[in-house]
Symmetry: C4
Subunit: 208 residues, 4 copies
């Protein structure tokens, strides 16, 4: 038995994202001492890590649902996917940088730029997959107008510019993008094929 | 062929846990010198690593059995799972910290807090999965009253508080939680579907 | 259900390549300061990372297609695959080295040598797989004369020698090999078995 | 569709081994300078890495074949497998240590001890799997008398003791164990189920 082409792409991407998460956590590093005051240095690193963890979690979830509804793949899809993974692989670096200099403009702007790159990479992946599967395909209808995708790219661009004016506003914008993606996802429900139907109490729009 | 939704969640979680284990081992670091006395500095790091390795091993095992008996997934399950992985991803940091300061209160308490977070994350994941699959589902019956899950959360909270009084008692409590999970697991036996029935000499409660 | 032997080889190789990519990104490291001038030190590291990322992406893609068209495996194939992974696992080290000394001959030559090793490893893997599957097999016909494989090995050897004369020419040659692999790949299209036929607008040579 | 229990154990173990390999390569580290003389410090690290890479490659291969012929799993098998992974996860540390002090007795002995632990872990895994599957099972017959497994444990113990007398002899013994495992494996051939029969020119004992 062999896995689907889309399955293979997912497994590889999942692997990269799993390592990205753990490398980011590794970069938080334990405090240099064992007193309460030593926790101060760790706190900003921990907070940015939480944000980056959530961002990767969102990508992992959406990436999975996107590929799941796609039937066809080509080399453009594969390179668009690698392009997205490239930007995500830079996330540990900017997370580390922001953790070291949480009050400086350039790291905050760099965080926005890498997020923008990843957002654009995902936007590109969606378009490439739709082109490979056709406008009337399942995946094209599942994606719809991709309003959130477009909005995210715009908000990350705004956050990057804002970093040179006000760091807090910039970070708040990045966090807002993450929240925008988390909340509506909660309505979706999946059932494994060939399994029993959903029990009555868990209402929700079935995706698959 | 595509994998189940639950299978995908498992693969990703397995990837994260595999990297966590190796990163924790990486943090042990070889001794700075090559004399017997240089082993002293490594010993506490090695001991905490053993504990953390066993903890991750237990989560990997239970996580696997939990998802295996689940048929339905939704976004809440996915986020509860990421919440658990978040706490587990902090385990290498506290393991490293305890290894550096094995006799201090704060690192010992932090180890308990991260363990508590992971224990609560698992407790939450169990509840979210049962809610998605229904109270009469296979997974709800397999979990039962989840006495051990509730007890673990309580013991980790106690160990965290105890760390400010007595480090040894605190570590003993953490190790006791691990032992509590290892021992009864040994009775379970699984058979692959479509395989020959178990031979007579390996008695044990079949799970699947 | 069990996966194919070739599938298992792919999954393991995918795992190694996923970690290689993330370790290389980890080695880029954030700037030491937060001023624009601090970006200078990061730029060469980032550029070599882009090259190495693309190289691993190409190997991942070709490795996947090679194993996909293979039906039979033996221990020689497995060791040839490990030989390829060995050279790829050294890529983060030379990427790091070139990033530290972008204008020196030896790191540039070492980058070429490791690339040559990986290129030879892939060349060997192709031959070993064809030998295991037979000259008339699907995989032997899919590979064809393997002109690009032979050419890559030659170009990497030339780039290694050139490093002692002109670094820029050497790096340009390494980048040219990568480009040679990316461009023609874009015409291929895959369809998952049992799925709907490709829509009319996405013309391309179907591989599977 | 869900994967087999044994498949899941394999995937997790493969993930751990993939990260171990890459972490060991990461520990080799590039030379501190860019002159030929700077290569001296890297050479011993590179050589031990080659040995450790081959050792992990052998475990990956044998582990895969062992689990492939097993039908039944239980919690003892799972913990025996984690016990093996524990020792393998310490391999990067001793590899790093030997690379730093190639001429010292203690690191050479530690390398032997960790190898001995892994060898014993594998020996234990084989026994636990046979116990779970029964003496007349496919896996019990595939393993046979496990002469090589017993011999390896003995040779690693001898190498550990020898390290305090002669380092070169000790390393030679470790390398000899690796060679003993590589050579005879080359006769085996696997075919994917449902595929065409092996072509005539690749004679070899079919395993599956």
């Amino acid at each position: 038995m062999k896995l689907d082409e889309t399955e293979r792409l997912e497994t590889f991407s999942d692997g990269v994202m799993a390592v990205i998460i753990t490398i980011m956590a590794f970069n938080v590093k334990p405090p240099a001492g064992s007193a309460f005051t030593d926790l101060h240095e760790v706190l900003p690193r921990l907070l940015v890590y939480v944000l980056s963890f959530v961002v990767v979690g969102i990508y992992w979830n959406n990436h999975h649902q996107l590929l799941r509804s796609a039937d066809r793949m080509n080399a453009s899809v594969m390179w668009a996917n690698l392009f997205l993974l490239f930007w995500l692989s830079l996330l540990p670096i900017v997370t580390d940088w922001v953790g070291s200099f949480p009050n400086r403009a350039l790291p905050a702007a760099a965080y926005g730029m890498i997020s923008l790159g990843a957002g654009f990479g995902y936007w590109l992946l969606v378009r490439t997959i739709i082109r490979a599967n056709g406008r009337s395909s399942h995946v094209a209808q599942a994606v719809g107008s991709d309003l959130k995708g477009n909005l995210s790219v715009g908000l990350y661009a705004a956050g990057t510019a804002l970093a040179f004016v006000n760091r807090v506003a910039s970070y708040a914008l990045y966090a807002a993008v993450a929240l925008m993606w988390i909340i509506p996802d909660r309505r979706l429900t999946w059932t494994n094929p060939g399994q029993s139907p959903p029990p009555a109490q868990s209402g929700g729009d079935s995706l698959d």
